[in-house]
Structures are given as structure tokens and as C-alpha cells.
Amino acid sequence: MPSGLLSTDLYQLSMMQAYLREGMTDTAVFEFFVRKLPKARNFLVAAGLEQCLNYLETLAVVPAELEWLRTTKRFDDSVLDYLAGLRFTGDVDAMAEGTVFFPDEPILRVMAPLPVAQLVETRVINILHFQTLIASKAARIRLAAGDRLLVDFGYRRAHGADAGLLAARASFIAGFDGTATVAAGMAFGIPLYGTMAHSFIQAHGSEEEAFLSFARARPDRLVLLLDTYDTERAAMTAVDVARMLAAEGIALHGIRIDSGDLGAHAHAVRAILDAHGLNGVTIFASGGLDETEIARLLAGKAPIDGFGVGTSLTTSSDAPALDCAYKLQEYAGVARRKTSEGKATWPGRKQVFRRCDRGLFATDDLGLVGEPLPGHPLLEPAMQAGRRVGASPPLEAIRDYARGQLAQLPVPLRGLDGSVHYPVQPSPELRRLAAEVDRRIAGAAVVMRPAARWEHFSHDADVGIRGVGPTLEAALEQVALALTAVVTDPAGVGHSQEAAFSCSGAGPDQLLYEWLNAVIFEMAVNRRLFSRFAVVVDGNRLTARAWGEAVDPVRHEPAAEPKGATYTELSVHSEAGQWIAQCVVDV
């Protein structure tokens, strides 16, 4: 596979250039999740983490890629220099591969400098989407097939070489027993299965000749393909061949049927085999199978011992793509969300807390990391500072874990019709954060317009500070920025440290007085300056978070130190749809 650095969308590099220009390289938190289930689906199975971590771990540009980028003249040196030295040094939290999950639940979280976290979006989605898609499909096939043998036959119809190989892996995780794809045997140690092609029979003078020739060449676990000409006649031939081979010490293990009415043929062939004492010979079916067809066959008591599934598996034909996304949840310590119609996201770093009842999944709570919720948290650290946390588990172990997951699926969810919804509940804390972010977005949306702003007004001895915004909260945030500006330019203040505030006051005026004094206190006691504020007002109560950093006398050159907010010119009011919060600050 190529290094992968250019396995990205153009817009990632365009944004990178803008981010670098603005110095927006703080930590960004992105999460990968599925927005909603495809029709007829009840659950999904996470897969692809291993390849995703591989990609991140080895992320680097190769000289030829860099050179080519330079020749495109699309990007300035800042981007090229950044790419030249780029490595993934971030953290990753993820659900273990094989975990059953539901819509809105993140299965992977990337925490890295914004330009990098953004750059990897394309390939991370590409990897996680495909294997999760296939594992989820394979799990349904497994549920339909019960404990019968399941083999992946899908490489040839897969959408590309990578897809064929990874489909073998994903389906194995979700419960397939093996694959026909040899490369997957080499790459992942997945057990290989295979019989013969119709062409092999066609190439020989007769079916009998072909069967014998094959058996002598490949005597171990011999499976004969019956449906090249006439399935039932071929079954009789197989009976004869079995008798001849028995004399040579070769046992007939099974037969395969690949066309026609598989159920009817299976019944007929079984009767022939059994009539000749070949009760132990297994029947393996393939050809246009999917979970619905397998379920139908088994409902009709078709005596089939194993299934080969190809096209429907590797193309997930009933649902060829998942509505998945990799979205920004936090930047520079500030929770973010998308509120687009039908595509809204939950903000912040989230955790899935799963509760079980009598050995079955009962309910999931979608909360914030560290929130004290009951249930088992599903996301765990997978990578720290660009390095894996622990060794990757063997594929067999992942498969065992996935089997355990499917065993815990509530019974209604094991059906194929998608009529059942598993309960996933956003926690109150998550809802609160979402509301806070919404309010902030409402305020910030106006930053672009001249509406939300701060300013200083003249006062003989001291400084008047004023915040203006579309909401009371926005005005209170802005006036606090004006307070920072008494000391230094807020644009030069970082936001690596967070502080929380809460205060109350009878009425907006008193609230403003208490709010500013709370900020002044924090500035004074911890020698801090703040560049961002998020205020929530609930009646007489104000809660807020602020982001800033310690005063650096050299960099900030702090001018006058605010001593306290005063009641002089103190006013909080709205006029013409705008809130204004102001007062004189003693310096």
C-alpha cells in the first residue's frame, strides 16, 4: 500500500494551509460514528481499527509525493514544510474490533493537532467504514447461518484488491470460518477453504474423470462440485467415485452445489448420499447467497452444512455504504458540534456506557468521557502520543470477542428485518454541553457580523469595558474579553488552561458585577489571562468556562491590572435586538 499521506481529499490540504496561516494547530478531537443504521439493520460491528492504527503509526510523506505536490504549485511552503516533518503524534481512543455498536456511538476518537487530525479524515473513514460495513454484514450472515460453516468467496466481486483482502478479515472477525482468498491466509492467517471450479470439470472428458483426477491430486478434505451439468446425476457419480477412492484410501469429505434451487438440490443430493451410506459427506452451498436466502433455506430445512458467500458479503449488497462520519467534537479545549439539518452531532469527547441485563445488552448511555455513569465504558485508549497502547490482539481473539458480543445481542435484534431499535440515550451532561455549545454558536455566528464584539469606552481614571452580542450570554462573554483587553491584546493570549466559574446575582446588573469580579479574582490569584469564554445564564445563576494561560510578562506585556468591576456606568440591557453589558473597571 502507498504511504497513504496523499490518500486524502484535496480539501484537507487546502484547510491545512489555512490552519497553518492562522496558527490553528491546537488539539482537535474528531470522532468516527455512524449517523443512522441502514434499512433492515439493527446493529453494527466495529472493525478496521488495526489497519487504522497502522496507517496513523506510519503516516509520513515520501519525497516523491512532496515533490509532486510542489510541482502542482497549489500549496505554499508552509504546507510543504509541515508535511515534510509530519508524523502522527496524537492519541486515539477506540472501541475494540468486534464490538457491537449503534448509531451516534463513536467507535474511534482522534486527538491530534488540528491540521493532522483533519488530514487523516479521508483515510480513517475509508478504512473504518469498509471493514465495519463488511463485519456488520457478515455478522448478520453468521446469525442467519447458525453454527454452519461460512466461507468468504467474495474477492472477485470486491471493489478492488484492498477491499477483497480486507473483506476476508472483516468477515472472519464477525464469525466467518475462513476465506477462499489466499492472500488473506498469508496476510492475516485466516483459514483457507476451496473446492474446484466448473472449468475444471469442463476441461475433463467426464465428471467422473475430473472428480478422480482432482481427488488424486488433492486427496485431503475432498469436496466435489456437483452442478456443472446435472446436479443429481453428478451426485450419483460422486457416490461411485467415493466408492472407488475409498479403495485408494481417499475419503469424500463433501460436495458443493453452486446453482439452481439450492434447497431442492440439497434435499435430493442428501437423499442420494444417504441412500448410499454417505451420511457423513457434507453439503456445501454457494451461489448468490446472502443472509436472507440462507435464512430461507434453513427455514425450509435444507440439509446444507456450510455456505460460501461472496458478492453480497464483499459489496454489502443490501446496504453498500454506511452513513458514517468523522466529525470535529472539540477544538482547543472548546466543545464543538455540527447543527446541520439531519446531520447534527453530539459535542465533546464521548464515551459509551453499556449496561447489560441477564447477559444481554440492555441499554447504552452516550455520555462524556469521565462522566460517572453506570455501565461498561466501551472506548479505550488505543494510541498515545502516536504509539500504540499494547500489542494488537490476535485475529482469533478478536473473533472470539465478536462471537461473545453477538451472543449478548438481545433476541429481537438478531432478526434480519430491522424493526427493533436498541436504546441509546444521551446523558444529561451531554445534553447540557450540547445546549451550551448551541448557545455559543448562536453567539459566535454573529462574530462574523459586527454584532458580537467588545470595546473600551473612556473614563478619566480607569477603563470602561463593554460587550455586545445577540444574547445576554454573548454580551457577558464579550465584556469579559474586553476585561482581558485592559491588560493585553486577547489575540495574543493562548487557551491551554481552563477555568470554571459560577456566580449568582439578583438581576443582570448584579450578575455582571459578580461575573467580572469572579474573572478578576481568577486572573489575580492564578496570574492568568483568558482569551475565550463560554457563558451560560440560568435565571440568577451564571456558569461559565474560560480558556486562557498564565501571564507571560515578556509576551503579554501586561498593562494595567484590573482591581475590580465597579457600578459606575454599569448596565446590562438589550436594545434593537442586541445585548449590551458594560461597566467601568478600576485599574
Binding site: D462, P553, G564, L570
Partner: protein
Amino acid sequence: MDLSRLQEIGGSAWRLPRQGRMRVDGIIYGDRALVAAMDEKVGEQVANVAALPGIVGASYAMPDAHWGYGFPIGGVAAFDPEAGGVISAGGVGFDISCGVRTMLTGLTRPEVQARQAELAERLFRDIPAGMGQRGRLSFSEHDLDAILEGGAAWAVGRGFGLPEDLPLIEEQGRAAGAAPDHVSAKAKTRQRGEMGTLGSGNHYLEVQEVAEVFAAGAASAYGLAVGEVVVTVHCGSRGLGHQVGTDYLGEMVAWAEAHGLELPDRELACAPIRSELGGRYLGAMRAATNCALANRQIIGHFVRGVFAELFPAAHVVLLYDVSHNTCKVEEHPVEGRRAQLFVHRKGATRALGPWDPSLPEPYRPVGQPVLIGGSMGTESYILAGCASGEQRSFSSACHGAGRSMSRHAALRQWRGRTIVDALAERGIVIRSPSMRGVAEEAPAAYKDVRAVVDAAERAGLARKVARLVPFICIKG
């Protein structure tokens, strides 16, 4: 200010006649140009203060008055507790007991000039200035309570300075009646790392030369001689005082609202002196005063240390230490009787005339030293309180030049670097952590201090003794 609203009553004084809710007249000191240049808000604030319960005499504004919050800066008002008089947190201000200390060095300008840059560097290093700086000292909670009780006397007990410093500090270095218990935990927290620091804004430390002497007798009593070097410190009670001001201002506003006290301006929020809240504030304010006195005493000690190291011949002696954001209990004549009054001075310096019993022995014949800080890099004055001051303003005088331009406007007009360079050309070294801070304190953003002290002298508030010019300025 629109002079047509005022009656000129002679002696550089202007009366704002009692009207509306005013209980007494307003009186503004200053010559025509100074008063005309004052913001209209000064007159408004003088009138507002005149409306407070229990005010006696008049609501005064000193010649350096400018628009403050509640009280004008440069405002003086006395309240009679027996007549329902009030105490106002806004009337004292956030920087409780902010004040000036001047020390004699016994050195002449040429002696010090040789090591000017080195001295500036050492002072800048040893006396932390500006926001975000921590002092070198840390004290336990227990120590802090002792500081709040003991003021400069506590500092001397801990080896900061000398016992002979104490008589040369207002109230002998300790405000009686301090109640550390009434200082909030937040205020005490805010003092962490603040002792021995200068602060920011208009606070400074200057090394100055006595450039001119106006009254030889008083100058001699104060130990001032032309050509000699003095050190002046301007700073206050730091974070603790600011938080005490914040805490009680909020509480008094709530109290006023709860008790239906109608105030022309919420910033004037106050409580009766004879009330639980008034009593608590007094105790807390005096504790903050002691904090300021201890802080200046500690800084004075650091200054001595630097001089002792660089100039073995130096003999650093305290001239005086006086605050200008205070409320003190003093006896003054009111309508023919002497009464115990609570005198608020917000940006005004107490200026006791000769023979006041609270003055240190050597100053009694000449009156209390009144230390007037000029704007950065211009000039400062030492005045002496005079007998007429008691009648004129409850023995109060101006405290500095007073701003004529807001910081906001100053920032638009000057760049810090330009100012530093211009002052350097005049032989003045500025050390500051913030060029923006320097621009906000641009000399031209202040009134002409000369006009202010001349007006104070003409008004009979105090008389000029000496003029000081700086050659090193450490700016917060």
C-alpha cells in the same frame, strides 16, 4: 466643567450650591483653567456625594479631581456618625490605603548618576512590578492575620525596616481597629504572593533629585536639600485591598437596595457607620490599610537593601508615608463644635497643619509632609499641611496630577517605546514590563502637576516645600 453652574468664592475655590437632594454645598478647589477642564461628571459626583446621609461641611473636590466611580477621584467628604453618617466602600475605593512613601538617601545626584542603569536594573529586579508578578515573600494565613493587625509595625518586627521608621508613617504605621476576621477568605487568597510588589497602573517607584526648594524651613525639617536624591514609592494594598473593596461594594449595594436607600449612583453604596455592615467594613478596611502599610514598609526595606549594596555611603531614612484612599476617624470643627468625623479621602491626601498632636516631633512646627506624585517622568512635589486646611477641606490636599485623558485615549495617541526614548533623552531611565502600560501612563495624559499644586497652595490646602524630578522610574 460648565463654570456657570458654580460660584467663584475666592481663593481658587468654587461653590456648587446645595440643590435637589444635596444636603450640603459642593466645593471644588482649583483655578479657572483646572476647573473648566474637569469633566462634567466631577460636578455630578460632587453633588451626588453631597446627598449622602450624615455628610457635614461640604462635599469637596481637590484641584486634581477627575471622574471617578461614585466619589470623584480627589473627593473628600466627612460624615458624622451621630447624624446618621455613612461609610462608603466606593468612597474609599478598591485600592484601599494606596499611598506614597518618600525616603531620603543622603546621596547627591552625581553620586547616584554614575550607577544609574545598574540601580534601575537592581530596583526593577528586586521590587516586582506589573501584573502577573509574584513577590519573593510568602506568608502563612496566621502571618497574614498578623500583618492585617499590625501593618508596618508588624513588618518592622519581622526585620523589614527599622523601628525609627514607624513614627514617620501615618498612624505610626498601624491602623487601629483592624478586624482581619471581616476580611474574606477570597481577599486573603488574593494576597498570596503580593507582599512586596508594586502592582501596575499608575503605581511606580522613582529615584528623584530634589530640584527646587520653596520653603527652606520646612525643607530643612523634612531633611530635603537641593541636589540630593530621594526615592519615592507609590502603591497600595494590592490584591487584598482590591478584593475587600469588591466584596463590600457588592454587599453595600445589596444593603442599600434592601433598605430602600435611594442613591443617585449605586457606586455610592454605603452603610451607616453605626451599623453591623458599617462596622464590619471599617474593620476590614483598616485591615487592608495595614496590609498597604506593611507592603510599603517591605518595599522600603528592599530599596534600602539595593542602596546599601550599590552605595555603601547611602543612609536611607524615611521622610514620610501617607495614604490617599482612606476613611479615617478625625476630630474637626463642625458648626462651632469639635466632632469625631469619618473623613473619606478618595484620591486625596491628608494634610495636617502645624502642631497637630498626631504629627511626629520634628514635623510639628511645619505641618505634615504631603507627598504628591506627578505623572511618570515629570515632577513630584512635597507640600506641607497648613493650618487653614482644616477649615478648607478637613485637612486634605490633592494627591497627584490627576488624569486629563483616559487610558483609552492615551493608547491611541502614544506608543510606549517612543515615550521611553523621549524620556531617555532627558536622562530618565524607565523600566517597565509593559510598553503599553507606559503609553497609558504617558505624561501628557495627566494634568500639569505644577498647576495642581499651585492651586492647592493658593486654596490654602497645603504649601509647597520642594520639587522633585525623577531620573529612574520603575513602572508597574
